[in-house]
């Protein structure tokens, strides 16, 4: 089948819809500027804020002023509506990547929560809940909802899952992408990593000093070409290939040779049946950190050699919209293809050894195939190819995977035989249990190097998140330790296990409440059916954190600790 794109929706610092976004791109007008809405004490940091308050966004989205809604969901709702309206189609699946979820509400109201006041917003903390809130307002007959949370590659992974759903007949029309608002939590986190520039960011420039955070949302509506043509829908482009890999190098740094990024781009080309020379434009991850741009340049050189296509990072327009970036930038690629232009890589003036030379100004030319990159913490790397003419992708009926081996880590005595003191130095106890369970499951099942590692977690890495949140609130955003932040993202567990076992294969994480495990299993079963993988390691992780458990008990819920590893194999 060919996968057609029939709708896009974008919200970011350069526009509240796709028309505004296109206008800003063509006018080379950046949305990065002074912080006006977030209210962090680090107001000296430039950001790519969406120019409207929550109240204004609610009015636009038709949400009543009194309803508590994470800003992530508000941004997502506006962009999702645009995509559905443009496609004129009814969607039966919604896949929304996010990591921040409702953290903006939690950081505002934590003190009230802890004191047992204002309990109505507590549940909105969960990443999956912020997706469900959007879904409720969209009034579509969604049969399937999932929230991939692989940090900055979340939205591209959402689109890939959506494509696999179409190819396995699990959905007819999918709304997929991601949303992420700014939060003090991750602004401070990136600040402790010392990778935020105090000036507008300069991707791929010799004098780049880091990234600017942004916020926004971006979605695609995708369906089979056959379906789109049958209903006379306007086809904006096609998804012709995609791949998800793991750099398996470091929790926050990319490898020098860009191995994970290289594998993701190669994998996407291979699925699309394209030669590297057929790519006309690469929308790079290009965050403007010294490390990312050097590593991504190395990977681009390995893929394209001397025949480098036009490359630009649009993050100098929007800031780094983290989990939303893959969706937003995929939608920007569709606009670029429609209007035949390469968006400018703003603020670039000077190259340095090892760096690729981006398109500093807008180039007007026809684009037949565009490669879009999104890379995340933990080395979660994803590449997507958008084409003017689609590639024929295989189809299959969804098979059930066979559960080959299950380990639930209950006895702490043997953790040390699976996790060395050096490896576990930064891990919480529950993470150590998880790593031990994973290693046992892999070695005892004989699947030492699974084709996919997928984690399911309701709350994510809550111990480090709570530690970081409380430190941030108590210290008034000063002198924060980087380690808890680095380990706070939902994808910490799956990527950590890939790093420890040098596994470059598919790596993903789902946070969808109690349905997280069924999302993970749906993912691997579809990939098995399509012949993309033969086996997979599924991790179930949650940790018991007293402060959070106490807050949850106020709304009649509790957290349950779990560290369970299951090896699945293809059921032939």
């Amino acid at each position: 089948m060919k996968i057609a794109i029939t709708g896009i929706g974008t919200v970011s610092a350069i526009g509240i819809n796709s028309a505004e976004t296109l206008e800003s791109l063509l006018a080379e007008r950046s949305g990065i500027g002074e912080m006006r809405i977030l209210g962090s004490r680090h107001a000296d940091l430039p950001v790519g804020e969406v120019a409207y308050s929550n109240e204004q966004l609610k009015a636009m989205a038709g949400v009543s002023a009194g309803e508590a809604m994470p800003r992530t969901s508000l941004l997502g709702l506006i962009a999702a509506r645009e995509a559905i309206t443009m496609s004129h189609g009814v969607c039966d699946a919604f896949i929304n990547g996010t990591t921040v979820g409702g953290m903006d509400l939690t950081e505002q109201h934590w003190t009230d929560y802890a004191q047992g006041k204002a309990t109505e917003n507590i549940r909105l903390h969960e990443a999956g809940e912020s997706t469900k809130v959007i879904a409720r307002y969209l009034e579509q007959p969604f049969q399937f909802i999932a929230t991939p949370s692989t940090a900055c590659s979340s939205a591209l992974n959402a689109i890939m899952l959506g494509a696999n759903m179409l190819r396995t007949g699990q959905a007819k029309r999918v709304l997929a992408g991601g949303a992420e608002s700014l939060s003090k939590f991750h602004l401070n986190g990136f600040n402790t990593l010392m990778i935020l520039d105090h000036e507008p960011c300069r991707p791929f420039d010799a004098n780049r000093h880091g990234l600017n955070l942004g916020e926004g949302a971006g979605y695609l509506v995708i369906e089979s070409e056959e379906e789109a043509k049958a209903r006379g829908a306007h086809i904006l482009g096609y998804i012709s290939g995609y791949a998800n890999t793991c750099d398996a190098f470091h929790q926050t740094a990319s490898s020098e040779d860009g191995e994970g990024a290289y594998l993701a781009m190669e994998g996407a080309l291979q699925m699309a049946g394209l030669n590297a020379s057929e790519i006309d434009y690469v929308n790079a991850h290009g965050t403007a950190t010294p490390n990312n741009d050097m590593s991504e340049s190395a990977a681009l050189r390995r893929v394209f050699g001397e025949k480098m296509p036009s490359v630009s990072s649009t993050k100098a327009f929007t800031g780094h919209t983290t989990s939303a970036s893959g969706g937003l930038e995929a939608a920007i690629c569709v606009l670029a293809m429609q209007k035949s232009f390469v968006p400018a890589n703003l603020h670039w003036t000077q190259t340095a050894e090892g760096l690729i030379v981006p398109s500093a100004r807008t180039e007007h030319k026809q684009l037949r195939h565009i490669l879009c990159n999104a890379f995340g913490f933990g080395g979660n790397e994803s590449s997507l190819i958008i084409s003017a003419e689609g590639s024929e992708l295989s189809m299959a009926e969804r098979l059930l995977a066979k559960r080959a081996y299950v380990i639930e880590q209950t006895d702490d005595a043997d953790i040390q035989s699976y996790v060395s003191a050096g490896e576990s130095r930064r891990m919480t106890l529950q993470t150590r249990r998880m790593v031990a369970a994973a290693r046992r499951a892999m070695s005892e099942s004989g699947v030492e190097h699974p084709d996919a590692i997928v984690c399911a977690t309701q709350w994510g890495c809550m111990l480090q998140s709570m530690r970081y949140l409380q430190d941030m609130l108590e210290s008034d955003e000063e002198q924060l330790k980087p380690t808890p932040f680095i380990q706070s993202t939902h994808n910490t567990i799956a990527s950590q296990i890939a790093i420890l076992t040098n596994n470059h294969h598919y790596n993903s994480t789902y946070s969808q409440g109690k349905q997280s495990v069924s999302c993970a299993i749906a993912d691997i079963e579809m990939q098995m059916s399509l012949g993309l993988i033969n086996n997979a390691l599924v991790l179930e992780f949650d940790e018991l954190v007293e402060a959070w458990d106490a807050v949850l008990s106020l709304i009649g819920d509790r957290t349950q600790a779990i560290a369970k590893a299951t090896v699945y194999i293809k059921n032939n």
């Binding site: 402790t192 990593l193 130095r425 930064r426």
Partner: protein
Amino acid sequence: MEQLIEQLKSQIIEALNFEEMTPADIDSEAPLFGEGLGLDSIDALELIMLMDREYGIKLADPKAGKQIFASVRTMAEYIEANRTK
């Protein structure tokens, strides 16, 4: 200086979660990164934060840490020369 070095070793062990180590296990002259303790970029950020919190030293450029953190002794010398508390 020797007293500062000993204090610093304890602070490093705590900040970087070397649970099974004592100050006596750290050689004051040995490299902290690469060989020696084998620290990485996250540890460098933790050490920058440690200097801010304990000694009132703010480093704006993480790259500057490379020379300062060559060994516990070089770190102690830098702190002695630049501390504000």
